[in-house]
Symmetry: C2
Subunit: 170 residues, 2 copies
DNA sequence: TACCATAATGAGTCGAGACTCATTTTCCAA
DNA sequence: TTGGAAAATGAGTCTCGACTCATTATGGTA
């Protein structure tokens, strides 16, 4: 791939993440192009459809989250990750709006990472043994959705997470 | 209001609820008109903008939920209501997609009803005393969102609700 | 440097869907 | 029954955004 093409691809991805995570996926490709400083045609050369572009940034986003999760661990790693993710969701429109687009591989990667955090928390006795990964993921997604949509303040977020953490606790 | 106008208004609301709760709010007004058996112009005569139509069915929906909640009570009224709402959300796109449209009065009414269920559950000792209404509402909305989006099966739904109920329990 | 394959450009096409309005139809009060 | 106000009709307008492509520019190689 030529150097300019490589550079533009990165710029477009950065711009797309910025635009879509703030304005939602309804934002126009035109706007992404403008922010990236390229012509609209260039965006479509790199990502033939808008969905391709969405899938690409979702993949990057999930990979980053999985990487984040991998650096955590121990008794409260799961709790830290949970809180961090919810905070992000409330500020931006991260995972939430992108739900329609599916990137199974990337989701799987995140699932693995969360599973590991769960295992460690259970080993440390912070989380009940009969809790499994699927419901943890379900809660994670749900609360991110809720936080984004409801515009929670810090206190509400804390109180809501407190209920969930109590439900997970041994 | 003339009799035919009254009749059409009802038909349009019913059709709109059917269409929007199944296809999401992106469905076209055209489709609503077709299902209602009226011309597109008639829809716009009754509801000048699409948002007006969305607000109208959201209001009806919330009022109905509040009515539902009012018939419940006792030790597990809150739990029943919670489960029922999540089941609905998973099947249809009820409250979820309509989040953008705000009908404060209707939301307040539902909040009152949920608050009453919470009070009764606490009186019966089913729910911890330090849990308050806002986080219950937040959890309710979150889980509905998650259920809709994730396409949960029955088991996942049960396991997820189990965590939340455990978190609420005394 | 000269060449050309690769990439960028952006005006233009296309379709979809919200909304309009001149015309026709329907209700209902007198 | 009938006059006319209220309501319904639906083809048409308008806007917006995804996507195209003929043309121009550019990076890299011989």
């Amino acid at each position: 791939m030529r150097a300019d093409a490589q550079r533009n691809r990165e710029r477009i991805l950065d711009a797309a993440e910025e635009v879509f995570t703030h304005r939602g996926t309804a934002a126009s490709t035109e706007e992404v192009a403008r922010l990236a400083g390229v012509a609209i045609g260039t965006v479509f050369r790199h990502f033939p459809t808008k969905d391709d572009l969405l899938a690409a940034i979702l993949k990057r986003l999930l990979a980053r989250l999985a990487g984040d999760a991998a650096t955590l661990g121990g008794a409260d790693g799961l709790h830290v990750f949970f809180r961090r993710l919810v905070e992000q969701a409330a500020a931006k429109r991260t995972v939430v709006d992108l739900a329609g687009v599916s990137v199974p591989a990337a989701v799987g990667q995140l699932g693995e990472a969360v599973g590991e955090l769960l295992r460690q928390a259970q080993a440390a006795g912070t989380v009940r043994d009969d809790v499994r990964r699927p419901e943890v993921m379900a809660l994670l997604v749900s609360v991110c959705q809720g936080a984004l949509q409801g515009g929670w303040d810090v206190e509400l977020q804390e109180r809501t997470l407190a209920v969930i953490f109590a439900g997970l606790a041994a």
